[in-house]
Every structure is written in C-alpha cells, then in structure tokens.
Symmetry: C3
Subunit: 303 residues, 3 copies
Amino acid sequence: MKHLISMRDIDKDDILRILDEAERMEDILNSKKVSKILEGKILATIFYEPSTRTRLSFETAMKRLGGEVIGFGDVENTSVVKGESLIDTIRVVSNYCDVIVLRHPSEGAARLASEYSSVPIINAGDGSNQHPTQTLLDLYTINREIGRIDNIKVAFVGDLKYGRTVHSLSYALALFEGVELHFISPKELKMPREIIDDLRGKVKIYESDKIGELDVDVVYVTRIQKERFPDLNEYQKVKGSYKIKKEHIENKDLIVMHPLPRVDEIDYGVDKLPQAKYFKQSFYGIPVRMAILKILIEEFERT
Amino acid sequence: MKHLISMRDIDKDDILRILDEAERMEDILNSKKVSKILEGKILATIFYEPSTRTRLSFETAMKRLGGEVIGFGDVENTSVVKGESLIDTIRVVSNYCDVIVLRHPSEGAARLASEYSSVPIINAGDGSNQHPTQTLLDLYTINREIGRIDNIKVAFVGDLKYGRTVHSLSYALALFEGVELHFISPKELKMPREIIDDLRGKVKIYESDKIGELDVDVVYVTRIQKERFPDLNEYQKVKGSYKIKKEHIENKDLIVMHPLPRVDEIDYGVDKLPQAKYFKQSFYGIPVRMAILKILIEEFERT
Amino acid sequence: MKHLISMRDIDKDDILRILDEAERMEDILNSKKVSKILEGKILATIFYEPSTRTRLSFETAMKRLGGEVIGFGDVENTSVVKGESLIDTIRVVSNYCDVIVLRHPSEGAARLASEYSSVPIINAGDGSNQHPTQTLLDLYTINREIGRIDNIKVAFVGDLKYGRTVHSLSYALALFEGVELHFISPKELKMPREIIDDLRGKVKIYESDKIGELDVDVVYVTRIQKERFPDLNEYQKVKGSYKIKKEHIENKDLIVMHPLPRVDEIDYGVDKLPQAKYFKQSFYGIPVRMAILKILIEEFERT
C-alpha cells in the first residue's frame, strides 16, 4: 500500500490489517496517553470541495498521533483560482508534507494525483466514486459492534442509487463469507443493476421497496435527497416511508448505522436506543484514520 | 464547573479561582518556557459566526499550553449547510476532542450544546446573550491593573443597551463589595431598565448622557453602531459626543478599557497614554483562556 | 534584522547568512529527525489577500521546526470587516504570537505594521511591492542548483513590467559580482526604465523581445496575464511567443525557474527534463523560510 485511492486496490488481508491496527489505535485513544508515533510528520488536507466532518476527523487522527496538519478547506482562496492544475498543486504540496488527504469533485482525481505525488495520497472522496476510509470505518464499526463481518446480514435503506458509501461498502462486504444484503429503497433510487450483477454469487441479495421486518444485524441508513426527484410530491411521499423510527428497531438485536450528516431519515427518538450506533461510528473514524495514516507513512519511510 | 456557559452559573469563588489560575498562566507566558500542561489534548473551535479575535485568542491559549486545535471558522463549508442540527454536530465533534469552544448566533445554543456534548463546552458568544470569557478577562484586567475589584468605580461609555459585554460585566462586578457603576450613553442606548433594577441594592448606580468628569478607576468604552439609529443624523450627532479623547483622561488616575475591535470611539491620540489598557486587556485574554481550558479539562479528566 | 520587510533593508552579508542557515535547515529536513528548535513558539499568518502557497510554505517551515501556527487566510470573517485598522489588528495579534507573516494588498503595509508590532514581521507581499522571502528562495535555488550566484547569467522571460519577483530578484542579483541579466518580454511588458537605470553599471544588461538562443545559466519564467492587455488578440499573439518549450532548453546547461503557479507559460513537456527546477524551487521555500523564522525569533529573544 503506497496510496489509498480505492477499495478495489486492497484485498481482504489489507482490510483486516487496517482494522487490526485501528484496534491498537483505539487503545491509544482510550489510554489518554500522549502518542508521538507521527511526531514531526505533516499531513496536508487538500479539499477542493468542503467536507468538515472528514477533514476534522483526519486532522484529529493526525494530531492524536503527535503529527501536524496544514491545508486548505475550499478552493476559493487558492492558486487554483489562478488556473493552476491539480497536478502542479500536488507536486508542490507533496514537497511540503509527509502524506496528503485529497477531496476533489472529479472522478479519478485521486488516482491522477497519486501518479505525481512524492508522498502517499489518501482519497477522501473523488466525486461520486470512492471514499475508502468511510468504507473502512463502516467495516470497523460492524466488527467492533457485532464482533464479526463474516456471516453478517446488512439492510441498506434509502438512496441506494447515488449513495457512494452504500456501493463501496457492498463491494467490501462481498469479500467476506456468508454475507446477506437487503436493499430497501424507493423504486426511483434502487441499487444500480450493474452493481447487483457484480455482487451476485458472492453475497445473498434481497430487494424491497418497504422497510418491513428488518431481520438483520445492521441497518445502514442513507439520506434521500430532494434534488434526486423531478417531482417534489413524489419526494415527500417517499421520504416518510424510509425514515427509521423507534418501532422499526426496538427489541431487535441489530445496530443502526448512518454515514452522517443525518437530516431526518432517522427519527430523533432512535438516538437514545442502544441500537443507535451512528455517533459511535463517526468516532470510529478516528482510530481507523489513525491506522491508515500510520501504515502509509511508515511504509513510505521504509521505501 | 463542567462547562462555562454563562456568568450566572459561577459565583465569586469560581471567579477568584479562575483569576488566580490565570496569574499562574501569565507567569508561564512570561517565563517563555515551553508548557506541556495540555499536551495531547485537542480543542475544537466551532464558530457558526465569524470572530477572528476570540478564535485566535483561544487557539493561542491552547497552543501555549502544548495542546492542539481543530475546528471551523464559518458555516459556509460545513455539514450545517446540508441541514445537520447543532445537536448532531456537537455529538460528532465532541467525540473528536477534549473541549469545545462554541460561538453561535442563537441565544441558548451553548446551553443546548452542553446537554449533548461528551466534553466541556465553553460559550464564546450565543447571540446577544453571554460571552463569559470576555467578562472574566475584563475582571482580570481590572484586578491586574488596579490591584483590586472590590470598591472599584467603573464608567461604561457608549452603547449600553445592546452591549453584551457591558451587561455581563455589570452583573459580575455586582458580586464584589462597594462597587460604583456610572452608565454614560445617549438616551437611545441607555442601560436597560431591568438590568438597572437587578443591580440596584448591590452596587451604586449613576446615569448620565454626558461623559463629564470621569471620577472613576475604569472607563470601559464600547462601540456605538450606526445600525442602532433609525436616523443617520442622530447617529452622527451622538457618535462624536461619546468618543474618548486625550483631554478626558490625561492626568487622571484611571485606566481605559475596550473589548475591541475599536472603530473610532477612542481617539488614536489616547493609545500612547499610560491609561490606555485595551491592548493589554486583549493580551490578558490569553492567560484567562489558558486558565479556563486547564480547569475544565482537568476537572473533566477527574470525573 | 528585527523584521524582514524589504530586500532593500538587507545587504549581501545578510543574504549569505540566510542562505547559509537555510542549508542547515535543509539538512534537518533531509535527516527526517524531529526538530524542536522553535518548540513553544507561535507564528501568526495574517493574510489580507489569499495566497495558499506562501501560507502553506510558512506553516510547513514553522511546523518542521516544532513551532505552532495561528492565523487567518482571508479578511471576510475577521474584525477587519467591522472596520478595525491594520494597526489595531497588528497590536492585538502581536500580543498573541512570536512572529507574524503578513500579506496585504497595500504597498507599505508591512513597514507600517512593523512600527506597531511587538514581535518580528515578515512581509509576504504588500501589493506589487516586496515579497522578500520569494527573492531569497530564488537566490537559494540558484546557489544550490548552479553552485554560485556570482558570475551568473539569468534570462527573465514573460511579464517584466508588473512582475514583482523579477524586479526584486534583479536588484538582489546586482549585489553579486559579474552578473548578466537578459530581459526577454513583449514590448508592452518590458522591464521598467527606472529599474534598468538602477541596475546599469552593476550588472550587464541585454534586452530582447525574442526568446532566442538562451545562452544563460538560469531561465526565470513568469506568467503573462491576460488582464495586462487592452486587446485580447494582442495577448493571444504574444502569449505563445514567450512559452518555454522543450526545444528551447534541451541539451543546454541551464535551469528553468518559475515562482508558480504556472498556467501555460512552460509547456508540460518541459517538466520531465533535468533542467526543470521550478518544483524544486518551491521546495527550497521551506528551508529558506525555516532559516528566516529561526533567525528573526532568535534575534528577537536576544533583545
């Protein structure tokens, strides 16, 4: 692993190694001891699109390991407005730092950047394509909260057509044994046919347009965006039908996940239930990103 | 003290304890030695409204104690624009850090945040309501420059109707013995009647619409904002009458304070006089905020 | 050296001392060891105009020496919009930190700031006037890549009329022995007559409106901005004629420099040639700025 661009570049062993390292990182966090594992190292966060949560999560991860952060959070005030290419920006910034976290609106941007960077690149989102650290923290959450990833049953609820996290996590789960995936969405936002085809044979698949019984280990909820519907009435009708409420999950042995931010697709009444794990999930982003930063920087130093 | 939301939550003993700790912090600053008191700790600055001065002051305080800072300075590029609630943002960010400094345009926001945060919240302004660290640094300035707070005579000059700092400091001074307050303002911007009523019996109060003799220990100046006047002519007339000039204060045994930024309510000629303490006052914000960060983080660790 | 405002304030000895210190800083960077030379010190970056590259370069330099950074990158969210003067901002911020890097759109702003600051000011650009750390990193690049500055032949290509870096570097080179300067530009963007007059007698000068043979050690390219031409056709014609391409430089014993960002005044095909040093040049900004931060902070502590 020189860079972390796409989940497609890493196999099950890589995933398990990252999750393993992340558990050690979680121990560091819980011990409240000062870590200097990445002391003197600099992370550059290069965000061509805003994403406070992802940026703050990476910054926290770096600082919890004793490292430092430079960067910019939007392009408005940068050389980019003067017409500089992504490649030139990467060449310059990679001379300043030890690792780069890049978010860019164009698919393939992170891959391109990795070809010109003198330091490791972590893809924090390239358009609707990949956001691998989200997928890794989702897997970590499942493993920490359920105790296994093999033989897991996951229901995805909401926008399954445009939801990058849902696609990426489905592919990743297909690397494990005995996985069952339930795709629950309005017909306008169904899981794309080609992804279903890719997954078939590797996992058991169920599709539905109703939330129903939720006989699963994990309910993974995503936001349904108004903008996806040509007809606002259609959106209003659909929205309510995919909102997770207390009655859907209480007394069930499952966890509820959500990549956040949540708008109103999970009722606030759910927050207090023991099944609600979406804030814990967001916390797990820290040890997972600590692990990734540590692994990439250490491997880079070795070469 | 789990959080610092409002001056109303703390008593005179709390105040004296903070001022006392702040003096030790000032010694650390003066010694120029590297402090690691908060090494490994992370402050998150969450500013839903811009406030460079307050943000930089807290960042400096944290870093002078060896701590680190993450955060955002405006909401434009955040999950907030995607519709995330303050509560969710606080739940997520409090998982990343050891203390939060929050500025928000809505009254009560900091109190609400403190109910959902897993770490201490410091209110750095919630609308026109509270900004307790400003009040504490004002008290610290008086104590350091005059040598006491009991038996102090303070003249407040300018906008006393909308000035949050003036209201908060008046209440805080009323906790001390023998305090005299002179409220000097245009009639349109007088101290609100209900605050006068609250203070009566605890402090001696004088009201005037003229600067006059200034037979006081402290002249606390605030900005008069054009926007407060329906009639611009009225503003122009009033403005000049409440501007502090050299002739008002030279040869007097008093200090001039101002929460800054100053626009033109103190003549630049005053800056060089020994009575001018507003830049010193802004410096005192550092040791006071160091003290508050240290106290809150240490008490939180203990529980 | 209390501040670094203008190249005109420093002499050849100062330059050589900075370049010398910068080589030691480069050794620190290459050793990959953690430096704590500026541990506990705080740099404030005060940018009234955006400049990501310069800001990130200074932040990196400070952090590579173990120091910390506070600051703001644009004025939009600052006290400035409330009408605060530069002088007041400097007085406040210089109370928070150990050194200030200032960028401001007005000529003379950094000089003014230095008169009111309680800590060293580094000018990172005041309008079209000075940007001394750029000039110092240009000199460092020449010295590191060619091995000398005396007896150097430099061709400046592009906009020589408005190019601040070109003017400043020309004056600096004139402090050295046996320097030859070739000014190559469209007639609309010629080196100003008064600068030519200043330089005459100190360096050999050649002027041309054609790239020609490039019998020099250094080709220093700058961007030609559309906005400089009243007639867009004129710009289109001119632009192509001053673009550096592979055929201009291959098999020549010279280096190509550029202050970056590059738009299209150097062909991408040049990037892979050994003569292309503009990315290296941008890297050299780090050790040079480390040296300047170290020298100014140490001298300030001594006084």
